[in-house]
Symmetry: C2
């Protein structure tokens, strides 16, 4: 077996990941991060969220407790939030801290890797908010065109 350094392996792997291919692991990763709840959790922890009284400045990453996330992501079920947070923790995008208060306080914050993804996701959420009017107008045109 030829000896290859970790850096060489890494460079080779990067060349080989191609999300267009169904068998590529990066397709599965794209699938996981292309998720509404992932986008909203990252946006919440990255602080792209409505101001609360006493909150840190907008734009500053922050730790949020489970209950705060549940409130922020209107409409998310506890099951979905727990599952999504666990997969984000497993992927190393979010870190989970348990403080042994009574009752126990569990909080979540972005890792460095999570912060880098947040930069991307933030753009997507902002795009959806800014271009909503254009999209609604396009839909109306499309739907009346066939009438």
């Amino acid at each position: 077996m030829a000896t290859v350094t970790a850096a060489q392996q890494r460079a080779q792997a990067k060349v080989e990941y191609d999300a267009f291919l169904a068998v590529c692991p990066s397709r599965k990763l794209l699938d996981r991060i292309s998720d509404k709840w992932v986008a909203l959790i990252l946006a919440g922890l990255g602080s792209d969220a409505p101001h609360r009284p006493g909150a840190d400045c907008a734009g500053e990453p922050r730790a949020l407790r489970y209950s705060e996330l549940l409130r922020l992501l209107a409409g998310v079920s506890q099951k979905m939030l727990t599952q999504t947070l666990r997969s984000l923790e497993r992927d190393g995008l979010v870190s989970r801290t348990v403080v042994p208060t009574v009752p126990v306080t569990v909080s979540y914050e972005l890792t460095d890797l999570g912060l880098s993804l947040y930069g991307m996701m933030r753009g997507l959420k902002a795009w959806a908010e800014v271009h909503m009017d254009d999209v609604l107008a396009n839909r109306e045109t499309y739907d009346t065109r066939g009438a």
Copy 2:
């Protein structure tokens, strides 16, 4: 009724769209664009795709025929591709051109709105490809930690 201009309505609507809210239409739009196939179709039409012989330069947006998209997006079903293209056309992100050859040639390309979303999506796909190794390493650590 107070008279408001279209521009005023538009400015007001933008302030009000907040994807954290379950009832906000931008949440639905975020849900739709947070989709693996949407990301891959935009990447394909935006030409963030493997070189083919005789293809335009990489990075140049291009029109693709239905059959070319089907081949590029390995693993997509015809039903899923047709549905996704139709919703992208309805949202004004992709335009559809029919040329009356025999058989009929149907091709798709990005609109200006689609191009602006492509800029975002492209980053997401690239992120997944570049950080795949980190995520795989994190998963291994997470899975052995509990053992």
